[in-house]
Amino acid sequence: MLRSKIKEALICFRAGRVTAPFPLGPEPNPPGDWFRGKIEVDVEKCIGCGGCANVCPARLIEITDSEHTRILEYFLNRCTYCGRCAEVCPENAITMTREYQLATNDSKDLYIKNELTMGTCGRCGRCFKPKSALDKMMVTGFLQKGQASE
């Protein structure tokens, strides 16, 4: 029994100290390229197709349509960081950052709202997002500006 105790003690002492004083010190293993952290939505690229809302397993992307506007709301407090929205988005508007220290007591930090002005194609009737500001004004007139707020 004594020999096994000495072997155990040797394993422990040979390892040295393996804990890192994070966050007071440097990060011991920074996340790599494919790390799935908090998502970031690039509102310029988003075309309002709704593919992310269709595929999100936690069903936290909600889409509401009013007259010319499509509002996409991302409730990230229930996000599981699976990354399906980033994979499915045809324009690569959603990217997964490397942020993982997301604890907060203000739920507005984890809420993204994207308002898009969509026009309707005269010929086939499908919705589309106008590419430039001039085209947008042709769709809506001078009534409202399509913009995204975070």
Partner: protein, 301 residues
């Protein structure tokens, strides 16, 4: 008179103020075995300060619930006045060995009273285990001290230590020293025998209902027991080197105490907890070995 008073103050200061530091050293050692950094060395002081400042909850109407931690701590303090920590004990007299062992047993009894007074089932379990262990271990402590007593023919601790310094190591005293060291693990509540105290199995045992100042007194008495029992062990079984100058002796004793406690801490880190019946049969085996030591002492070997 003046030396008695100053020795008493020195003993009490060691037991009250230096004891949490010894616990801090043991925690750092355990953390080193676990390959981590561990809490700072002054963490037990901060723990005790925090606990003393908390609300004093009264769980039952039983007055024993509030008295038990006081009994435990007070008996440890009184026992500290009878313990030699480098020089003679402050209140030493003929027969002080028995008084010392009785007050140490009274500390265990205080823990038992506190655990039983609340009526919680976990407390009752912890008290049962503490009683079983105390019955086995107090015999071992007393018997290993009696080995020395047989040689000297007196119950005076001071004379026991003086005789052992002059005569040098004997077989019976070495066997008794080993037995006392193994009993030290139980008295201090360290693995592999931390059965009654703070189990993951029975959620704290007798200490589960105590909170705030009561828990601080329980913890403090366990810290104080470390220095006390280690000093007793060293004075009776390993009294070298002794210079004769009192402050130097106290310092040397303190260094030896820390070495003994580091050894206890190492054994504590690499062992799992044993079940009560295994512990009882283990100590019954040690008792048999001690009988041999007593026999050797009787024939003056």
């Amino acid at each position: 008179m003046a030396t008695t008073l100053s020795l008493a103050i020195v003993n009490l200061v060691l037991v009250i103020l230096v004891a949490p530091f010894s616990e801090g050293v043991m925690r750092k050692l355990k953390a080193a075995v676990h390959s981590r950094k561990g809490p700072p060395l002054t963490q037990p002081y901060l723990d005790l300060l925090k606990l003393l400042g908390k609300e004093d909850l009264k769980v039952t109407e039983n007055p024993l619930f509030s008295l038990a931690p006081v009994i435990t701590f007070a008996s440890i303090l009184v026992a500290a006045l009878f313990t030699p920590m480098g020089t003679r004990p402050p209140l030493g007299f003929a027969g002080d060995l028995i008084v010392l062992v009785y007050f140490l047993a009274l500390a265990s009894a205080g823990v038992m009273l506190g655990g039983a007074s609340t009526g919680s089932p976990y407390g009752a379990l912890g008290v049962a285990r503490e009683m079983m262990l105390a019955m086995m271990v107090e015999i071992i402590v007393m018997a290993s001290l009696i080995v020395g007593v047989i040689h000297v023919q007196s119950f005076d601790l001071g004379r026991l230590s003086i005789w052992y310094r002059q005569s040098g190591p004997t077989i019976s005293m070495i066997i008794a020293a080993i037995a006392f060291f193994l009993a030290l693990q139980v008295q201090l509540g360290k693995l592999p025998f931390d059965i009654p105290d703070a189990d993951q199995e029975i959620m704290g045992g007798p200490f589960m209902e105590a909170s705030g100042p009561k828990l601080a007194l329980y913890k403090w008495s366990y810290f104080a027991k470390q220095i006390l029992l280690a000093s007793l062990f060293l004075e009776v079984f390993l009294p070298w080197p002794k210079t004769g100058i009192i402050p130097v002796d106290i310092l040397i004793n303190l260094i030896k105490v820390f070495i003994v406690l580091i050894l206890v801490g190492l054994i504590d880190s690499v062992n799992p907890r044993i079940r009560v019946d295994h512990a009882i049969s283990y100590f019954a085996g040690i008792w048999v070995v001690l009988v041999f030591a007593i026999a050797f002492a009787l024939i003056e070997v």
